[in-house]
Symmetry: none
């Protein structure tokens, strides 16, 4: 086949910062459509990138028989709808994370993938991050021994995005800090520890600091500024414990908390050695060597994980290759997240 013809559906931040430039860098791909329900956004993309056609209805993209694949970069509430439509229309799909707002939606997407036989990858982009892959390799090689506990910290002082908007409206996003940040952290854990199956989840979620929108104090706001008459009904912080058939996972996450530290890391605790990964950065390995305690920092050239993700997707479309970001694997993360929100709602542990 020739170049993979792409439609980008949803022309917001993640499309402009990640998907589009990566497709443009890939000589096997060609963007044919920019689609956004806000027509101006699609038109701006056409102008800026000097290619493609601007449309506002994603079905136009799906009707074009020349299109091979689409990137779904919309708010979370449209993920499953567009993805399923696209698969049924015979298109391969790269859908941004989280797969969907709920596990039920994700399951429908998986079924559509199976029925259509097309590729469905989820944008769990950290599976294409070099540091993450190096850790995964070290665990697989047995360097850490048995990983019995992973502690996940995605805690920030003030980082609620677009307070009052799509990010903080449950009907659109499906959740707050867990579904926005936690999905990445948990997916890294799943990926590095062999995608274990979940047995129990006990958690609590808090919707506190963003509740009175006008009183929320912050320095910078991503996807801001706040909409004073908007909705805020999602988790700004969350905590819990997950038992799996692999390691126990405990976690604390916060988009906002009254502790002024940004602690964004994952601790892999093995019985031979351990690793602390700074999210988005490097990692340190703590071990034992010749009866000495050792602490090792690593330096390495890092490739662009978004480019890797897009290159991988284009390759899948061309060859049928199945990546670790495919729906059958990543749906487990959706399941865990469903369990977390369910336990938080019930205020008791849920079993799988």
């Amino acid at each position: 086949m020739g170049k993979v013809k792409i439609g980008v559906i949803g022309c917001g931040n993640i499309a402009n910062n990640a998907h589009i430039p990566s497709y443009l860098n890939n000589s096997e791909a060609e963007i044919r459509y920019f689609c956004d329900c806000v027509p101006e956004r699609a038109q701006n993309a056409v102008k800026k990138y000097q290619c493609g056609t601007a449309v506002s209805d994603y079905k136009e993209v799906l009707c074009d028989p020349e299109i091979d694949a689409v990137s779904v970069c919309t708010p979370n509430n449209m993920h499953s709808i567009i993805t399923i439509d696209a698969l049924m229309a015979g298109k391969h799909v790269l859908c941004e994370k989280p797969a969907a707002r709920t596990y039920a939606e994700a399951v429908k997407m998986q079924k559509a993938q199976q029925e259509s036989g097309k590729i469905l990858n989820i944008g769990v982009v950290n599976r294409f991050n070099d540091a993450v892959n190096k850790i995964r390799q070290m665990i697989e090689d047995g360097e850490l021994g048995e990983i019995y506990h992973v502690y996940v910290s995605f805690r920030s002082h003030r980082s609620i995005p677009g307070l009052g908007g799509a990010f903080t409206t449950n009907a659109i996003s499906g959740g707050g800090v867990l579904i926005d940040w936690g999905v990445h952290f948990l997916d890294i854990v799943m990926y590095c520890t062999g995608d274990p199956s979940v047995k129990t989840v006990s958690s609590e979620a808090f919707c506190r600091l963003g509740k009175k929108i006008e009183e929320y104090t912050y320095v910078d706001m991503w996807a801001g500024p706040p909409q004073m008459d908007g909705t805020y009904d999602v988790d700004d912080s969350i905590t819990g414990i997950i038992r799996t058939d692999g390691p126990v996972i405990s976690f604390n996450g916060a988009w906002a908390q009254n502790i002024g530290e940004n602690e964004m890391f994952i601790d892999f605790m093995g019985d031979k050695a351990g690793i602390r990964l700074q999210y988005g950065g490097g990692f340190v390995k703590y071990g034992v060597h010749n009866k000495m305690l050792s602490k090792t920092e690593y330096q390495f050239r890092s490739s662009d994980m978004f480019q890797n993700e897009i290159d991988g997707f284009v390759r899948c479309v061309q060859s049928g290759e199945k990546l670790p970001s495919n729906i059958d694997i990543t749906i487990k993360t959706a399941e865990v997240m469903e369990g977390i929100y369910q336990s938080a709602r019930l205020h008791k542990e849920v079993e799988f």
Copy 2:
């Protein structure tokens, strides 16, 4: 009454570093006995402190009608036995923490206190720490708003005490890092947040790094060195989540872990402000003031918490005063700890 006559039962570290010097500094107290099942230890104390009589059987102390009160500073397995005997002999008791190895033992101690009408305080010494009391006051004054979540971190790289000895033998100690360190941290949380009642506990405990005693690598060992043929059957690390009728409490603790950070703190997360207490040190308050985010460090003179504890106990003996360290309040911490160990054994959440 005249001076309070004291018998010190158990002449190890905690007696020599804390109880004995504090009694000597208190002009209302007089140590009459040093008791230890290792006769040499009791004799050394008599020599060093130039007072009292050395005995090896604690019942000798209890038989002396002149003795008003005893400090129980033995390993955990003897706490309930000696405390109950002492109360029944009409003595007031200050028993080192934890109250006992198990909740059942603690309940028996409480019953003996009720029957005897004597004072029974537990050595939850942080209730006499100035920083802790200042935090408690700030919470009570509403400065933090509602405390909805407390995260407790008692994680150290390498700190297993006396590997193979009393501390790491479950039959003697009743547990590892939770019962040795966690008791202090959880007791601070209970004390500062109004001693809430526990509703559910889900936790997992790990016995990993000390298991092969000869392979355990460390730099310093408190209560060491390792006994190569000793027992190691307790938790070296632990994690979990506790729901109460007050805040949710989540925790990570480790005597030993393959993460080379010592993170010993408690985060009180309120909806108005938050506090991070460095265990054994100061604290920082994070809040909001005139639409600014604020970070406040405090300086203050600190009194000796062990002296405060002993002075308080002596005062109780003289006046019948009831302190926040009395058994009726502190038994709640024993109950929580029981729940944590039970959930860890069952690998599922327990409800109260």
Copy 3:
């Protein structure tokens, strides 16, 4: 009225870095003239900003009946002349700080304002700085108790601007570090402590390090390089004490000194708490809370003080609003500065 039509008189640093971009950002303002006695500068502004007409005689601007207001951004010696002409021509005026070279000139400007009834604001831009306003609010709210002493430090190692040029020629600038930097610092003090009246001033000024222009050693020079045959007859450092009906103010200032520290701050000493403001940056509050000494740092979003100043001026023109930067209030700072230079000349205290 429609958009406010503006003439910018003087197209040097402060015009290009502050006034012009802020007018361009204000949808209610429209720049019609760029005026500079160096024709090239005015022409460059027209080219760069794609608007307005370039003129070299400010009277042309004043003659245009469509012009509502002017920004006076010339060297200090022209401030009073142009401002008075502009007011008499019926224009509103925003005049850069200092109001004038001397108090006498400032008084004439004030009279012209009163006669004309037009707005006359002085460019004491720190009155539009968020940190300054937050401090002022805290003082007004009584958080610091009574401010009894303010210490003002505007000391730099090597910062004489344009050595030999307009800045260092007394006939043009009216003074050195005091009139260039001190005016900002003293104005902040006046503004934050309720614009108190001055009672006595005792001070000494030094003209030392720039005197032999060719020997002056420096790393960078703002408004430089040195003109070897230029004039240097102003204060490069200054010190003194001011009694007011509010706090006592003591100060040390230096454009250049043989102490290699840049200490640019204001200490507000109250009997309840104190604040150190880092000039152009944030501030720290030192207080007492529950018998502890506290140190609090604040984080907040800062708006652009120059934009605020210009927006405020445009609003004044439209509505007649009187801002704290109007001549009747800011003339007090001119009076203090006059007193400082007078005391330094007489080598004794002057009384008001």
Copy 4:
């Protein structure tokens, strides 16, 4: 003559920490009397140092014809009385700083010295400090050019000594932070810049933070703890400007202030170079070299300034040598201090 026979009058901190050990180290001196109006203190000294006789009336010391010299180490209010009595009794005197509570008292002491012909040195011990002497030498050698301005900072966050006691009772001490700390700083300036004559002083003193003794918050207190029913009527902070026939001196001092920085230094500003001396520590020289700005730190072995002071005094007694600490020179510092307090009382400048 044989060994110099010494009487130590006043056996408090400065005697025990400085005078006595230095006499004991000097093979030419012999302590014959320890005198204190609190008999126990004198007796303790005899016991501790195993020499001399304990007396409680200083006149007993003065009556002993064998005594050559006395150290006056009492509170400030007794300095002039005892010193004058001693001189009239034919004894040489080393009197602790400040010479006296007031200039008038100091003048009487100077007259008594002149009439008696005996040595009268004041304990301006920094004149025997190596760093101070090195700076003095550099200034004398012209390395700094002309010193035109000295800025003196003796500011601390919380350091009121013995709140409510002798230090803070004006009738005993004659003043607060100026007379206790300022005397050292000003004396260093006088000494290093050739003991210039004072022309004017303008200053303000503040008695704020110690006023409500029970509300004063601190961490440690020298000469403490506070006496809740004691007196506090001295300056806890002070500021001013001094013109001399040498450099201008400006100063800020605080035993206590609501700025949490300890800034204890003297800046000597010369037109060739400058020096910042950290009080009690080292110094840094800022200069120019080959058109470069230079910053030079010095390291050197330091002798004990108290030992030097005592050795010098003993030498004076033996040889009649006149040291820079003799009353005729140091009385100038007393005069400056008198002027500072007078100006602060009158709220206007005083001329000499």
